[in-house]
């Protein structure tokens, strides 16, 4: 049986908006990752300074 033809919901030309929205999302995701990294490094420094320190996110 032949595959039914797909009818896309969005008109041609809408990809530009998708790309811009994704670029914005990517910036926010990278900023969130930066914060996570800083928190991880703080935890590592605390753990190095205090052998009894319990790492929050092992």
């Amino acid at each position: 049986m032949a595959t039914p033809t797909v009818v896309f919901d969005k008109p041609l030309g809408a990809f530009r908006d998708s790309i811009r929205a994704y670029r914005e999302h990517k910036k926010q995701w990278q900023a969130k990752m930066e914060v996570k990294l800083m928190e991880m490094e703080e935890e590592i420094q605390k753990a190095k300074a205090d052998p009894f320190y319990k790492v929050q996110n092992p």
């Binding site: 595959t3 033809t5 797909v6 009818v7 896309f8 919901d9 969005k10 041609l12 030309g13 809408a14 990809f15 530009r16 998708s18 790309i19 811009r20 994704y22 670029r23 999302h25 990517k26 995701w29 990278q30 990752m33 996570k36 990294l37």
Partner: protein, 165 residues
């Protein structure tokens, strides 16, 4: 999006992959942490599509490490096993290195046995003064492969014929 099977990834990947919030991450032998994420894209609706994102979270220069490539490819293959749809990838524009990243991604992907299972195409588009390398990856067996490629190509042509905005 259907979640990746971590047990399967554990068995397949050279580096153990963990779920870290909404991301998947792994740490290399060189203490570099990579994060992978997927984001829904509605442009191809009703066919599901997702943006694939990869980030070196440690900001340390990564040595040539084949285990990184293998782990990423395994993640992508597992993604398609549970989401046999459309994957989009846009190279990061940091330091104006997007062309090199695009070449590296293509080399990584095309150099694997699994790549034969997928259709992959990259396109360069200019938007808001930025060079954007965008890749689309679709399983060769996708029932709407031709329609998806046609739509992607038509959209890229529209970008090329448009004046910069």
């Amino acid at each position: 999006m259907n979640a990746l099977d971590l047990d399967r990834l554990f068995l397949d990947c050279p580096y153990p992959v963990r779920k870290d919030g909404e991301e998947y991450s792994f740490k290399t032998d060189y203490d570099i942490v990579y994060a992978v994420s997927f984001k829904d894209e509605s442009f191809f609706s009703p066919i599901p599509a997702y943006w694939f994102d990869l980030m070196n979270r440690s900001h340390k220069a990564s040595p040539n490490d084949p285990k990184v490539r293998e782990t990423i490819i395994r993640i992508i293959v597992e993604f398609f096993r549970v989401n046999p749809d459309i994957m989009l990838y846009m190279c990061d524009t940091a330091n104006d290195q997007q062309a090199q990243r695009n070449r590296l991604f293509l080399r990584w992907f095309s150099g694997t046995e699994q790549s034969k299972l997928f259709y992959i195409k990259t396109a360069l588009i200019m938007d808001e003064g930025l060079e954007n390398f965008i890749a689309i990856i679709v399983p060769q067996q996708h029932p709407h492969l031709d329609a998806i490629i046609e739509r992607f190509n038509a959209e890229i042509e529209m970008f090329k014929s448009d004046k910069p905005q």
